[in-house]
Symmetry: C2
Subunit: 322 residues, 2 copies
């Protein structure tokens, strides 16, 4: 920490010019407000999320990974509505003006921002307990955003990627066990499914991103859509590591409720099932049908033999004390 | 704290329907993203600011006042660019799920939001040290936002309202002394100068809001505009209480550097000086000419007799250690 480093200097040095250059940004970091242009015919989609040290990440985590993840979780929200990402703002609270830490954070944030054509357009830096709040902004064609409330009985329930990797990585880290590179990357540098969200517009009847875990997040879709779902556990897409952990403990918490997956869960009319391989190719990620929307309410998970599974865990809920 | 209160329930109960109803909000609190419509011909202005307990406010402060102020400081940023406020998002980190606290916070936030025709469109609630981040969104006609970089030698330097009230209120509070209602309101429920920002568009050559104190904030305008300024101390608009405090200690820190004023400081071509009474009437607040832009660099404050004053304090800078 340099004694002469001020908030203004730090912001100027570390937080300007982060991410992709964009013509629709008229004024960015450093003025009272950013000035931005939304293209004609588009709605603006915005989502805001906070990561708190000791709650959402380990306080000693790699700042570059944290920068990446803070943006990724917000781009995942954009993906869930089918939006094309454009801009981000950052409110960062730090215990001290550590320029090396901030530069690494900005580097990780900027790597993902550049990859997704996102510009950091506004920043606020304050002193206090380590907390990262990011708001992501994107565009969707008018009235064509993916919603949570359109699932209908008979629709297929699908997910992207694999479930439970991040939860397993965190479990290893907390136990002081080694974590392989793949799992660590799934925890620390998740890939928001932006391309998938865009190709699902006009096709998926509902979508959500999996931040809190399948049980919790699919539960939101069911509540909003006023229907039920059956999920078949043996169809869940699992990596070998997660499948082994599930089998060893006969515990499905990792893929169902550990959270931090940042995959998309969406519902698709059965007639569109044939589109899944095309969508997977366009989105660049595997897509798996894991169940079906039913009439009624609630989510039931069943084993391969049709016997019901009783949830032991649930999605991560910051204030739940049950 | 109720044992069964979850984040989702709390958000739904306390943070939905806050502020004014607006047709341009297609989806708000509760979905992954808010979906919003910017009117044709307008740029979107966004500003994000964080308030941290123990840094920006006293941890035991009235939650309704905190809700008001968290929005006010962000609307003040919109005012500084001449934007018409429209939407806000809120990322709130709380040590515990205290529904009474959150309801009071939402009430204070909602009072100002309703008064300024702002809708709360997105919220994130996390557990951790008390921190409030708000992003405000507003509209300005294309290419007509107020900027910091247009001040020119010969322009008048003007401010709205009075300076130093909030700083004096805080000084009293920290000393355990009584604070009268006017001063307390200036600290806890500042009025963002939104109407003033809008009428200054096309007239003021530069503008900024006074959050960190006149020395610091006017300094940003001078740096961005590449010029200097002379401020005449005896022209600063002071309430009797602040004037008395300045005189008692022969210390101009309160009006120059205590911060938290949330007035606008702007520069005006001398030829437009006659407009000031009209602008003040339209904006509903006093406007005072306090000095003049000069060529060169830096800000000098002079006493009534023309002798220079040497700053002892400076604007609030979260990481300055000088």
């Amino acid at each position: 920490m340099r004694p002469d480093v001020s908030e203004f200097d730090l912001i100027r040095r570390c937080l300007t010019g982060v991410g992709a250059a964009r013509d629709d940004v008229r004024v960015d970091v450093g003025d009272d407000c950013a000035l931005l242009r939304v293209p004609p015919g588009r709605e603006l989609a915005v989502g805001i999320d906070t990561l708190v040290a000791g709650v959402h990440f380990l306080p000693d985590c790699d700042p570059a990974a944290l920068g990446w993840k803070a943006l990724a979780v917000n781009l995942s929200d954009l993906a869930a509505v089918g939006a094309e990402p454009a801009w981000a703002t950052l409110a960062l609270t730090l215990p001290a003006a550590d320029e090396d830490w901030l530069a690494a954070f900005a580097r990780g944030f900027g790597e993902l921002a550049a990859a997704e054509d996102v510009r950091l357009v506004g920043g606020d830096l304050t002193r206090g307990p380590l907390t990262v709040t990011v708001q992501a902004h994107g565009f969707v064609p008018m009235d064509h955003a993916l919603r949570r409330d359109g699932a209908r009985p008979g629709d297929l329930v699908c997910v992207s990627g694999a479930l439970g990797d991040a939860g397993l990585a965190l479990r290893h880290l907390l136990a002081g066990e080694p974590v392989d590179d793949y799992l660590r990357r799934r925890l620390e540098r998740p890939t928001p499914r932006v391309a998938l969200g865009e190709v699902l517009r006009g096709l998926a009847t509902a979508a959500i991103d999996l931040s809190d875990g399948l049980l919790s997040d699919l539960g939101h879709v069911l509540a909003a859509s006023g229907c039920a779902a059956r999920v078949e556990l043996d169809r869940l897409p699992l990596t070998d590591q997660v499948a082994a952990a599930v089998a060893a403990a006969d515990d499905w918490t990792l893929p169902l409720a550990a959270g931090d997956d940042y995959e998309l869960c969406f519902t698709l009319p059965r007639a569109a099932a044939g589109q899944l391989p095309v969508l997977a190719a366009a989105a660049g990620c595997p897509l798996t049908t894991i169940g079906e929307i039913e009439s009624g309410s609630g989510l039931r998970c069943v084993h391969a033999d049709g016997t019901p599974w009783q949830p032991r865990g649930r999605g991560y809920d910051h204030f739940a004390t049950a």
